[in-house]
Symmetry: C2
Subunit: 660 residues, 2 copies
């Protein structure tokens, strides 16, 4: 039995499959043909001018599930033109970064007409995706074969197809060789070394590379805190002055590292070209629906959803729901405290204190697990609600989702700690609870996020391999096997959860740092293994994600900065409550509070001054950006001089006559 | 005796004088000719292609002083081309704002080829100034006639001439008719009404119109505070709960008004076109000097000044000097307190308490005058120092100047109040001192800034008039008279001092608002007259300033916001100290402090949330901006489709062959 792979058959030399498009199983032939034609058609006819092939030409029973798979590719010239239209920024021969244009292609480093490696595979895939998404309806009023699936002129066809479920997924192909190379430098040998960020960027794109860059940076930045925190644990230091020093160091340090990260990030994204990349005009997100109206921005007829209705949904449904969840989370917290009290009672009255000593940790551990479960459940609910709010733009959707998730996770994770610290004022319990929460959540995260999916993935992979081996006869069908394997893998849903995990970790480390200096050390240990498990996740567990250009970690910078402001307040309050410090002011508690408040204000002011004084971009980058600006201004000026010369030619002649 | 006004003589119909250029008295003929030629010469020959005439052709004894005056103008087409090169934004026929281009001129509202009113006179003057400043050296190595005055290729000639003192000044001419019209709607009738902001903008440009807009807005915004504050004074309310209400209202109010201003400002500057105007590439400021080197940005040889040397000057000279001044200011404050104590002693021991009651106010008044004098002296010193620091760019110069001046003025004006409030804890003295400082400084300011110069100016004006009348014989020389009059007027040094005055007033009103609710009422009264006196100053006292496009009040927004943050802290502290509130917590001062601190934190958090939640631009403007962005993206896309069609023509043909 022979699998006829059309992608391999027809002139393989010039068709390199980049992206896989999976249609729904029951899509009509008419729709299929229309879509193929659209993708293949010339740009001026409203097509994408890309290359598309079905994975298998002839459909037999075993390959039935593959008949809905299409491979999309593009010619080199088409990709170069696409690079211009997405605004890709590349390094020129004079070492400056400039937006790529097809006309000036010879000025770019590494470009030659017979060189296909100028664009990385990830870039090519991003371009193909961009071109597919930019395939727009012209005069079609509906998707052929599906009269109820309306199309609107100027709107993305692919997003409509995804909304109606006619296209089930679209994903880029892995490049096994490059992946193997990347893996070997990234995580295969368990050694302490820098990650190959440039390599990650080349393979996975900037957004993911930035996450790994931040993870690495953050881990390094935690090391000084961990080192300084260790002796507090080892020597059981309890002097208030030492705690004050540690906390002050922490607070300044956390400001400085966040500011320095911005600079490092600018340096990196300049090199990658995304710092200079222009933001693209934002389209409605797939799934957005509404009644037909005139968009005030584009002036075109398209589905609109009234902002008032959305506000109603947000304030009358989402907000109460979030409040309810918060209340529930606090209720669970009280149960935890009851459990804690019960455990301590048992321990106190027990005849085997060695045995019940372990019991003391049980409530915290259970509570940590419950917190994780609640976070994950809430995550789904928040996604459902935010999507139901029907935001038009992806950015608005993301903002509302992030806000919902951050508020809940913050309260869910830290409410009990705040209660222990400032209401119960039990520092011993705080330390124990903090340690248990931090360590349990870290262990859980690693298991749920990486090892469980990896194990499932491996099992599934073996099954597919067997199936394909049974199928194949006399032709090498690695591509076929690869696609069948990859299409079943989970989709990596973006860096949101990874950043969230780091954010909560940052909270555990900094909010109560002066009570539990060891937290930083645990965070460092966790992150060292996290780097490896996340890398494994990216390379092995999930489908390859589309490269997504980005120039910073976005809203997370703000979230981390807010956390570091809150931690100034909590740490100052903790120090003010420490019995050692209270012993220094035996008579006048008022003076103590005033001093602590003054110190807190001074620290906050210092933080803002630091954030203001440290430039967001290193001088080197500033100069380079100014250089580019100067260049474009000069070019404009030259153009203008020419224009003036032409426009004033007549007038000039007259004047010359006058003066002579 | 006849004055030969060349500007009036030669074909007046097509030469409208816009800008006056005054050379130094002893400039060599050679230099004069060269400069004239440069200004007149064609753009492609490195000239400015403007029109220039000497004010008087023949030079007689009485008109000797006028022989260095040149009038600069430009043809209508030249001005339109200049409007394109400065990036002027104008309203189109479809009511959208777009950058003006000569090619698309017919699309703009109010444009027709025979209409000279499309550009306002202020815009024309701005364009001429821009073109003069953009007159750049090509192969000239020095200014002809002055071998020591070096020129560098690509550097502004005019800035060099100003630096070497060969050009003494350059200023735009008033337009008497338009000015009279503006005056009549602005301040001539003392009635309460909105200012003609659009008219001010047309005549004086956006920066000045924005100042007056802010002044007006700020005055209106103070009215609610003044109204709520009045009954506190009238009924002598001293209940803590009322103070708390007033202070809370104040704090929220000050945040809201600053945020709302941003929106109003965006609305205004969108209408004026400056919101969309692109920032121009910044040139070195006149007066900047250094040794020859390669500029890393432009790649050209030009004077550079090492940043290290500048840092040395800043940290080893400027910083100690500022600290010294701050110390001196504090020293003067102690003298004031001695005086105050002495006056109170005298009053207490006096046999005529009615008489010595007046004496109680004397120290405050004297101190207020001293503060004003010190502020003004320091201003000069700060300018000298900042200019000596030799900043390359005007923006860096301004930032360093603003920082120096703000820090000193803040301490100088408010240190005594802080001391009285938080060290002496004498609320009665605080109220008295605050009132005296506020009122004295306001009166002083109005006299020194406006009425004194106005009086001097009038005296001088009469003198000139007489002189010109004696001179003139049979020709109407209004232009001659106007120029001679205007050239002697003072130069308006920008809105810095005006904003500074408002900033300090905002401090007086908000920092201790809960102690002296009447401050807002005084501020409102002062501002109502300030609007008129500032208008008078602009129209009568000073030379017409060049219009300066700007899209916001810049650094002052930040300064006002910082002040409102500080005022949250001071007001909370004051309320916490109030005896009424202390009476509520007789036993536990600690609880009181904790509550006040918690409230302060809540207020600060609320401020930040408000600042974050209120969008900086009204929705209407956001939509308009998005529309423009969409337009340019669409245009690019169309261009791209054409490019793809051309580039892939060959390939397409081949493919068609393949498929058929």
């Amino acid at each position: 039995m022979r699998v006829t792979l059309s992608a391999l058959d027809t002139s393989e030399t010039f068709f390199k499959p980049l992206v896989v498009l999976e249609l729904a199983r029951d899509v009509k032939e008419e729709t299929r043909k229309w879509l193929e034609k659209k993708i293949n058609d010339k740009k001026k006819n409203g097509g994408a001018q890309l290359l598309i092939r079905p994975l298998v030409e002839k459909c037999e029973e075993q390959t039935l599930e593959s008949q809905n798979l299409y491979l999309v590719g593009a010619s080199t010239v088409r990709l170069l033109l696409g690079a211009e239209s997405v605004g890709l920024v590349k390094e020129c021969n004079d070492n400056a970064m400039r937006a790529f244009t097809y006309e000036t292609r010879q000025n770019f480093k590494g470009f030659s007409d017979d060189n296909d490696d100028f664009l990385t595979m990830a870039e090519c895939q991003f371009i193909v995706k961009h071109e597919l998404e930019n395939l727009r309806a012209r005069d079609e009023k509906m998707i052929p074969g599906y009269p109820q699936a309306k199309l609107y002129p100027g709107k993305s066809i692919l997003r409509r197809l995804l909304t109606y479920g006619l296209v089930t997924q679209i994903f880029p192909l892995h490049d096994s060789e490059a992946l193997k190379k990347l893996e070997s430098t990234w995580y295969n040998r368990f050694k302490l070394k820098y990650q190959p960020l440039d390599g990650i960027r080349t393979y996975f794109g900037e957004t993911i590379a930035l996450y790994f860059g931040f993870l690495e940076y953050f881990t390094f930045a935690l090391i000084p805190m961990a080192l300084i925190g260790l002796p507090y644990y080892v020597f059981d230091w309890e002097d208030y002055d030492k705690y004050v020093i540690f906390a002050s160091f922490n607070l300044i340090w956390s400001t400085v590292i966040l500011e320095v990260w911005k600079r490092g990030c600018a340096l990196m994204t300049y090199r990658w070209g995304t710092l200079l990349m222009k933001r693209q005009f934002e389209e409605p997100r797939p799934g957005f629906h509404g009644v037909l109206g005139i968009n005030p921005i584009t002036g075109r007829e398209e589905p609109l959803y009234s902002s008032f209705k959305r506000q109603l949904r947000i304030y009358l449904v989402s907000l109460p729901f979030v409040c309810l969840c918060l209340y529930f989370s606090l209720y669970v917290m009280t149960i935890y405290f009851d459990l804690e009290a019960w455990a301590q009672d048992v321990h106190r009255e027990s005849h085997f204190p060695e045995l019940t000593n372990v019991l003391l940790f049980v409530p915290s551990i259970v509570y940590a697990v419950v917190i994780e479960v609640m976070n994950r459940l809430y995550r789904f609910a928040a996604e459902f609600l935010t999507s139901w709010e029907n935001h038009r733009l992806e950015s608005a959707y993301q903002n509302h989702l992030v806000l919902k998730v951050l508020v809940f996770n913050f309260l869910n994770c830290f409410a009990s700690l705040f209660y222990i610290a400032f209401v119960m004022k039990d520092m011993k319990l705080l330390r124990q609870s903090l340690a248990t929460l931090l360590i349990t959540s870290q262990i859980l995260n690693q298991i749920v996020e990486t090892f469980l999916p990896y194990w499932l993935q491996r099992k599934h992979g073996l099954r597919v391999k067997k199936k394909v081996q049974a199928l194949k006869a006399d032709v090498d069908v690695t591509l076929y096997e690869q696609i069948i394997l990859e299409k079943e893998k989970g989709t990596y849903l973006g860096t949101f959860d990874d950043y969230l995990e780091l954010f909560l970790q940052f909270g555990y480390v900094s909010l109560f740092s002066c009570v539990y200096p060891l937290a930083a050390a645990f965070a460092v240990l966790n992150n060292l293994s996290e780097i490896n498990s996340d890398a494994l996740k990216m390379c092995k567990v999930f489908k390859r994600p589309f490269a997504e250009p980005s120039s910073s970690i976005g809203v997370w910078q703000l979230a981390f900065e807010t956390m570091s402001v809150i931690s100034v307040v909590t740490n100052c309050a903790l120090i003010g409550m420490s019995p050692q410090l209270n012993a220094v002011f035996p008579d006048s508690k008022t003076d103590l509070i005033l001093i602590v408040v003054a110190a807190e204000h001074a620290l906050l002011a210092l933080k803002f001054v630091l954030a203001f004084v440290i430039p967001d971009k290193p001088r080197e980058i500033q100069v380079k950006l100014a250089k580019l600006e100067f260049e474009s201004v000069e070019a404009l000026k030259q153009q203008h001089i020419k224009l003036v010369a032409e426009s004033l030619k007549e007038e000039g002649k007259e004047e010359e006559k006058n003066t002579t």
